[in-house]
Every structure is written in structure tokens, then in C-alpha cells.
Symmetry: C2
Subunit: 539 residues, 2 copies
Amino acid sequence: MFNCLVKNMLERAVKLYPNVEITDRKPSGERFSYTYKDMHKRICRLANVLGDLGIKSGDGNMGDRIGVVAWNNHRHLELFLGVPMFGAVFHSLNVRLSLDHLSYIINHAEDEVIFCDPDFLPLFEAMEDRIANVQHFIIMTDEDKLPETKLSPVSSYEDLLSQASPEYTFPDFDENTPMAMCYTTATTGRPKGCVYTHRMQYIHALTAVAIGGANDKSIQMSMVPMFHMLGWGAPYFCTWFGMKQALTGRHPDVATFAKLIEEEKATDVMGVPVLARALLEELRTGKYDYSSLQRFVAGGSAPDLALIKGYEDLGIDFRQGYGMTETAPLITLSLIKGPLEGLPTEKKQELKRKGGLIPPCLEWKVLNEKGGEVKWDGKEIGQLAVRGPWVIEEYYKEPEKTAECFKDGWLYTRDMVTVDEEAYISVVDRAGDLIKSGGEWISTLDLDDYIMRHPAVLEAATIGVPNPRWDERPVSFVVLRPESKGKVTGDEIKRFLLDEVKVAKWWIPDEFIFVDEIPKTAAAKFDKKTLREKYAGEG
Amino acid sequence: MFNCLVKNMLERAVKLYPNVEITDRKPSGERFSYTYKDMHKRICRLANVLGDLGIKSGDGNMGDRIGVVAWNNHRHLELFLGVPMFGAVFHSLNVRLSLDHLSYIINHAEDEVIFCDPDFLPLFEAMEDRIANVQHFIIMTDEDKLPETKLSPVSSYEDLLSQASPEYTFPDFDENTPMAMCYTTATTGRPKGCVYTHRMQYIHALTAVAIGGANDKSIQMSMVPMFHMLGWGAPYFCTWFGMKQALTGRHPDVATFAKLIEEEKATDVMGVPVLARALLEELRTGKYDYSSLQRFVAGGSAPDLALIKGYEDLGIDFRQGYGMTETAPLITLSLIKGPLEGLPTEKKQELKRKGGLIPPCLEWKVLNEKGGEVKWDGKEIGQLAVRGPWVIEEYYKEPEKTAECFKDGWLYTRDMVTVDEEAYISVVDRAGDLIKSGGEWISTLDLDDYIMRHPAVLEAATIGVPNPRWDERPVSFVVLRPESKGKVTGDEIKRFLLDEVKVAKWWIPDEFIFVDEIPKTAAAKFDKKTLREKYAGEG
């Protein structure tokens, strides 16, 4: 039977779009560009390098794991495609993990080789004695000379490529061969490994384009680090559909993103809400021509209404995506359904804020505490369970954690959601974060959103704390904007929530704790576990 | 592992688009409409009916075959979805086949049950004694009383459904379970069976939408009979993506199509060039509001430039699709690539006339007589070979024919094509129709197109005839428009080809034979085999 393999993506790009560009920012800041044709030759060289290093490919079973940590650059993209096409497993390392977790996952995945940008060498030097399984470090730099390092053995990516043949015939193999893996950014316990097969990413990429509406006229510039959930799949679907890819290079800041949109005429941008907000403010300065920009997809956490409205006021279609490492990553996208197209703009923006729709291919159910399906009223809360062609069915080498989260092929997401009459799914909270106060649910995510609508508030994170009368009550940590520090009180925020946002009285947090910063997880989300520990320690 | 099954399509439509309409024209001409929610209930009833009839479902292997022949109507759509979801095989019968071929395929497929519209009963009555394998005939009619027939046993679709329970849980099974089959409309020898699995149609539908750009705002009205290559896949992808479907009912004529576009606000229409041409003339009368119409996809044979320009002058994006029964059916679609978007309109229309691009998923090569790949110059001719997730890998129970056309998983299409510098594939001719004159190729399809550009010509079909000096020479059969009959000579057409179309002198047919009609195959293509026999018999 025909096998659905990642190689079809690059091979199609080379045949149909040989001269379409991939651009990058060199560490020097200069623009770099080459074409799919150029990239294909280098990926052939890369495959020969992997063979020379003794890397073993898989066929139904798992090939050797290749750890990779890099900025969003063209060499990173080469590894995204080349490692799977060779038959090995691209292990994307999230540099925002703690050293403990990073060394743990490198060991747990048994990475044979690490490819890394020079900026990340200190990370590996700091845990050198803890990752003895790594046989080889390959440094990706523009410089002729490699940086000084105590790691060994070390080679230069460019040297190895230049010595390798540009001819390589990528083999066929079983489509269920693993092509990549990511670990979850666990807030409790160890990160868990999610292994993706060729078939999974193949069907995921087709679906992402089928619902997203991008095509070979699109120009993608992602603010999402490629080490976050495979860059949300963009390296695959952009290549397959012949899109121009504008990569953002080393240490990009918001001005870099805005400038790239102008210079590369980006049509599609993806990013987390925090960066989306910063980019919006940058675009509003009027310093950039962003007329090419058609769509913004935000994911990672929920966007607020002001953000959605802000983009759409500039004529940019704003969409909220929701996903997980376990689903590589797509679960919902906040498209406006055909039958709702006639709604007023504000209603549509409210829908986009609330959540999104399940795409074709995924099966889903939302189960309440009794194990029954919730009512589709936008109110009853239940846990979302999904299964489908790109949803993993186990954690890598973790039978116990697998048994906790998977049952009969279904992934129990631990995300608590509501479903409205039109099947829009809204994430209310993580299972552990939701507050039960006097027998009723309070969503900390909603409260965070409401508090952040106050003009003086930069960030807000709410947790539940034990309460003798109500079982649990909300307490919010608040970061004020620099100019408002010391000038806004908890009472003022309480008044704002009651009078302006019209929050129910019993939802109002018992306490507002002003802090300089909210701790974040490696996925850039508020780290509520640390906040709870902090509160318990001080309380 | 998760199985990719047709049931996801309907289940998604019911959950996300319960109230989106499917409309139909009753035999009385009245409008009929119901929703995905209504249809789902009836399909549950249908599954119970199939179970009661003793139909066996498959799981990896082949379930029982259900023969179906009907107009494009809602019951037909129910069978498209319900039979595969039950686990049986939807055998789509092309009523344009000869009785010999029709009875042959019903026997060869071993159809257990036949579902048919009353209009097609005489077909089955005429071959009753030749299809003894059929256990049951189920007639789909709006009338309370079944029409008189000598077929037996006979039941009413509506009666059976009304007696069945509306509750049914569609099972999971192996995605490689056959879900449908079609036979080729062979011009030589017996029709050959092509069996499609759930997985094949699933990936085909995703890809069709990913490249085609339709979405849940689209309203599909197809002029393609649903018994032609599964209606080009529309029943599946339209349902999956929640599109409104406007079905055309019994004996639709061109005025019906034009009226439906206006009444149902169709955005997408599909059809063969002959009907496309008729519809264009109808729309041009100014009697209809066709402002909703965005896209026209033509397939089955090559559209001419005037047709493409005609639609695009009305603001409708015209696309040429090319496919085969063996590929269920998509092989190419004439999209304008991103990098060519800036070409002048005439150049883009010329590209659309020439051919199309291979979509994601398919692998392809074009081999010349020496077995090497042709040069991508738009000139060198070779045979197209394809493989991919929706390409069959054998003919049903035909090991010899399978060995002729398939090798190492590749389908050798017998279509002779060129590839231009931009990878646009143009079908020059069927392997047997291409003319080799004095060592050089002449495309009869191109000649047909050139001759049909003459304003007095309605149809033209060219064949190669033996010639002692040049091996082969072209001879053209020509049908003139009624008002031009007897007024246009072969010399006039010859002059037109030389002076207006600028056809090379050695391509000019040796003879123009004026006829009242060109014989057609069951796929509505010019039947060149019959023309060759006719010429040989008369020559």
C-alpha cells in the first residue's frame, strides 16, 4: 500500500515551486534567501551526513533520535524535513525547559546527535555530564571557525554538508514510522514524550490548509518558535503547498517582526497572544506597511477581545487556534461558520474570543463529572476528549501516564471546556485550575481575561485557595503597567470588574496580590502551580 | 490505530452544521429540502434496513456490494454515505453503459441488492435474466404506490426506511475496508472494476478542499451525474466541510441548471465541457442572476479557450480538472500558481486550457518511449504514471489487466502528456489515439480543439488512419451547427486552421468528413474507437 510520507512535501515543492523563496535573517542581521530547489540539494547532503554519522533509520519502528535546538532559521527547516525523510526522528528541544528537564528528555529520548545554534551551546555545556548518550554535537553557524566549547566531538554543519554528496534518493518506508517527537512542558512531574508518525503530520498538514485557506500565494512569517510543537506544523504545510517562508532568525524582537512583514510582504502570521499584542502596538505606530497581512492565528493561550478587535480594525482576519503537544497541535480553530457569516462583526469577534471549531478528521466529546456528555449551552463544563489521525495514543515509554490520560484510543485532554449551541468549544480552564466555590465553577482563565481588560493591568493570574466556608475561593496575582505601579488598588480593580465588566459578585477574587512578574512555564503560560506553592508558603 | 472512515464526514456535518440544507428537485419539479440533521436520521434508518436485508459489512476485507443507479438526488446522497458507513460497498452504476456491460459489471461485482430510481427500472427489466445474483430491488420513489414491474422481489425505499429505527451507531473498522467501486467505461474490452477504500476517499476529499479553496460558505451544484466517478468526490467533501448541496434531480436540462444557480445561490459548479458550454450560453441570455457563482470546474475532457474566456468574462474562475476512474478521480487541477499570478489574463487562461498541476499527495512521472523522463519543455510527449493515497493499485479480480497497467504500485495511465517548464501537465491524447505521422506526433485532441474554434463547428473528432507514406495521417469528423449545415466545406476549415489558428501545415487533416453526430462513450467522450471502425469499414 502507498505510504503517506513527509518526503512528498519537499518533493512537490521542488517540482512545482523550485524558485519560491525561503528567507532568513543571518545572525549579522543581513537577509539570507534561497529557494526550495537549493534547500532540496542541501537536504540531500544532510541525509548523506546522517548516513555517514551512522544514524539508523526506522521502517514502522523508531529510527535514531536527533536532538535539535535552533532559532527559526533555514538550517532548522532543513532538519525539520531532512531528518524525517531520512527515516530518523527529529526531536525538537524546547530551550525554555529547565536544565533538569532538558537533560531528562535528552536522556529519555536517547538522542544520538544534537544539532544546535551557537547561542545554545552554554545550555549543553552546563549539562554535559548528564547527557552521556549524545555521541556528537553539530554546530550550525555562518562562521568558518567554530566557537570554543568543551563539548566533544563537535563538527560544523556547513563543513559536513559541503563535504557530502548532493545526490540522495529518499526511501519509501512504512507511514507509521516516527518522524518527530516533542515533550510536554509539564507543570507537574516530568515532561512526557509525544511521538508523531509521518502519517500523522501528513494528514494534519492537509487539514490545516483545507480549513485555514492558505495557498501557494501565501507568505508565512511565524513568531512561534519552531521548537514549540513543531512550529504549529507550519514548516510542513508551507513547504507542501509551495508557500514562501520568511524565517525570523536569531533573537527577533517585535520591531524585527513588523519590519519582516513589510519587507517580505507576509500574508499570514502566527504567534502567542502576548506577542500578538506587542506586534499590534508596533504596527499601530504607522512605521510599517503591513497591507499584505491577511490573517493572524494566535494560539498557546486565549486572546482577549481587545486584541481580536485591534487586528480586525486593521483589516486582518484574526483567528484563535487551540491545541496541545499531544495533538501536534491542532484541536480547534475559531473560524466563523458559513451559517453565522451574517452576524454583526462584534458577535463574530466574541465567537472568536470564546473558542473554536473542531476540524475535519478529529472525533470529540465533552464529558461532565458523571461521565455523560455536557449540554451544548455554553455553560455546562466538562473535560474534552479527542481522537483522530494526528492525536497520539500513548506517551513514549510511560505506560502509567498513558493509562491516566488515554482510554480506548481517546486522549483525555484535562482541558475543561464548554460547548455552545453552534459547537464552538471554549476552554474554561485546565482541570486542576478550575475553582469550585460553593458548589459552582469559577474559571480562572476568564477572571484573568476580565482583570487584564483594566487599562492599568499588564498581567493577571488567578488561582483557587482553600476556604473553610466555600471550599475554594479565587485569589489573583496582578502585574501593573510601569506607569500605574502603586497607583491602583485591589478595590479599584474590584470596582472595575463589578461595574465595567459586569462580573458576578461571587466571582470577585477575595484578594488581589500585586507582584512585579508572573512566573511562566516553558510554553510561556502563567505557571499557576508555582503561584499556588507561593501562596501556600506565604499564607 | 485510529481509522480514517467516511463516517467522520457525516458525523461532523451533523454536529457542526445540523441545519445546513441539502436541496433537491422532486420528479414533480417541486423543490425539496432537508438538513444534515434530517439526513443523518434517515441514514441511520438506512443502516438498519441494510442490516435487516442481511447485508454483510467488511472490516479490512470487502463487505457486500450494493448496486445503485439514480439521478442526482437526496436518496442517492444517502446511499453514497450510508452504504460505506455501514461497512458495505457502494457500487455506482453508470447507466450510460450498454446493457451488455451493465449486466457484466453487476455480475462481476456480485451486487446483492440494487437501489434504483423508477426511471431506470426498464434497464433492469431488460436484463433481468442476466443478473440472477441480485437478491432484492429497492425502488426510490416519492409515490405511495410502486410502479408496475416484473422484477422481484421489490421494495419501496421509503417504506423500508419508515419501518426502521432512526437509531444506529456506526461502527469503527479498518480504514482499508472498501467503501465504493466504479467500473471504467472501457472503449476496448470489458469494463474494469476500481475499488476505493475509506482511507482513499478520506485523503482525496481533504486534498480536494485544500487545493480547491471551497469552504462552509460554499454552495455546490454539480452538473456531473453522481454515477460518474462518485460525482467527482463532491458528495464526500461537501458533506465533510458542511457545504450546502443543491442537487439537480430528474432529467435536468440546461435551463434547470441555470435556474438552480439563481435560486440556490450556487457558488461552485462542476460539469463536462459540453454542458459547460451550454450553460454559458444560457447564462448569457441575461435571464438569470448568477452573481453568486464563483468557480466552475470542468473535467472529463479538455475545455477550449473560448469556454474558459467565456466564464471568466462573467467573473467566474474557470478550472480544468483531469482525472480517471482509477484515481477516484483527481489527478490535476488547473490552478494558477502563486509565482504566475502576475501573468496577463490571456496567458493564465492559456495555462488553464493546457492542463493542470498535480496536487499534494500524488507522486508522478512522465516516461518517453525509451523509459526515461521527458524534458519539461511542453513538447516532448510521454506516458503519465501516478501513485498516491487515492490511486488504486489493481483492477478488481483482473490479475492480467492489473499486470498490464500497474507496476511497483504505479498506475500507468495510458494518457500521453507533455509537461511544461512550470510543471503544468497537458494531456495530448490517449495512448492509442495519438497519431505518428512521418516520425512526429500529432495530437488528435489538439486538432479537435482547433477545429471546434471555427464558429460554424459544433463538434469535431479526429482519428489517425493508416497511410503508406507517412505511416498515419489525421482525418476529422465534423458536426456543423444547424444553421451552417451544407454551407461550410472542408477547404474552408482547412483555411481557418492554417490562417486563423496557425496550425502547422503537416498537422492539417487529409480529410474532413461531415456527419450529423459524433458517437460518445458512456463517459460522454468522443468514441474514437467506433469512428475508427466506421472509417475502416467505409474506407
